[in-house]
Amino acid sequence: MRRVYFNEEACIGCHLCEIYCQLQHSQSRELIKVFKRESPHPLPRVRVEEKGPVSLSIRCQQCDEAPCVYACLTGALTRDAINEVVVLDEERCVGCWTCILVCPFGTIRRDVDQRKTVKCDLCQGEDVPICVINCPNEALVYKESS
């Protein structure tokens, strides 16, 4: 399957991946509205971590043996049979946060207001994830992994 990979040497910590992710997963897709007014407030599925000159853009890596899928108490997290993306069925998620405890990347987020987890879905419906398209320095690459 295709995954988003990260080249640390090219990442300048601009956080545009987070911003475009949040926009992509919003209702309105209007920048100002998304960040200031939209309710429920959309959360980004990618996280930028920084320490000195090093910055990391981190999202779900769609693990082969995905621990979150096996730990999910309700069956809300599954691997799509066709495109192999680990997807969340929001209807079945009860926000128990068990997936968070087993994610090796710490990349599953809590949407406390909605009682749901949020995770990267590789922008279902798009050819290329929106973070990859909008990375100004090509630090993110979308590639077949095997």
Binding site: R3, Y5, F6, N7, E8, R47, E49, E50, K51, V54, S55, L56, I58, Q61, E65, P67, Y70, A71, L73, T74, G75, E91, R92, V94, G95, C96, W97, T98, I100, L101, V102, C103, P104, F105, G106, I108, R109, R110, V112, V141, K143, E144, S145, S146
Partner: protein, 449 residues
Amino acid sequence: MIKEERIKYLIIGNSAGGIGAAESIREVDKVGTITILSDEPYPAYSRPLISDYLAERRPLQRMLFRPPDFYEENNIQSIPGRKVTGLDIDEHNIQLVDGRAIIWEKLLLATGGSPIMPEITGIDLEGVFTFTTLDDAKEIDQFLNNYHRRKIRAVVIGGGLIGVSVTEALVKRGVDVTIIEMKDRILNTILDEEASALVETSLQQFGVEIITGQTVDKVTSYLSGAATGVTLDDSRPIPCEIVIVAIGVQPRTELVSNTGIKKKRGIIVDRHMTTSNSDVYACGDVAEAYDFVYGENRLTPIWPNAFIGGRVAGFNMAGVQTEYQGGTAMNSLKYFGLAIVSAGMVTPLDDSYEVISQIHDHVYKKIVLKDGLIVGLVFSGDIDKSGIIYNLMKDKVNIEDFKQTLVADDFGLVSLPEEIWKPGLAIPPSALACGISSVEQTEEVLVGE
């Protein structure tokens, strides 16, 4: 004449472990016959959601662990609501309560656990319940619905996961709850003192009374056959209309009695989830499987371990050699919105362990170490990166050189040495070389990494 069926894979238990096994079998064997037996009359449902059923009457359709067409889609025969009455290991034969017999090639015991009932007076009175199955939740729900006189009071015997879960659900239904915990604090097997205190405070804010260090001597009745209270070991009476027994669960091993299959408290399995009989496997709450924190077989009766154990068993049953990496006690709690996660050894056994912790505002982070390796963790409030710590523990990464950063507010993957985060995030060599064909050696797969 008794009807006899021949089945390749027979799975007893239709919950996390049974489903995990059925799915992995189907990944590698599309045609071998699979039968799942269960004494519960429902398709696989998420057992932890019985709290939501009781609290907010969440319907069964929204508790299903797999879509309604799961069994049909995967060509799995499901026989729900039928008890197994006999098991003959040598003959590979099982008998059901309706007289049916099944001959199996590979058998998985995923029978789970059953509530431990204390031998006290009045335990069989009306109004005394357990809380491990959907039917338990339904019975309590029925009782609440039929009780119209005044405010209902409940005594929950046992302050473990089940006891606190039923307490939260009952409080949401407007019931006054008193928890009686034998030890000095609730949730004492999965949380440390600090985190237990956080949950206690949270429960008390919602009106729950918690009595620790005491036990229930008997369930009392002033009405014919119905519970009207309990008496504690110091003779103190506590009036109530409902008693929930939640002192623990024990592995349901009765099927293997007199079969020669090795068991202690649970059925002993090796790293392939095989029992002492090579055609019989076990997983989940009934099994004592490898615990990677303690380095020995233990009961770890939690949903994710049951599922992964079942998954490993399924692959091995289908002939694909697969090793169980091991599990450990691991829980995520959110009672009344308070987020707490814990895993492994949360309270050091002795002075040879080191504890690193941080507590401020609503954040509590604690890691237990031994010889540079993480052996336990408890996080409350800020739990979002706890998975990174859990995996460092599971992968036995030596964290001596950066241990202080693990409980810091700004902790993340970036706090770790590059060699830890890089392999997971950077483009793997196989992707760079995409287009060049390569021959892969078949390796033993590790599941649950």
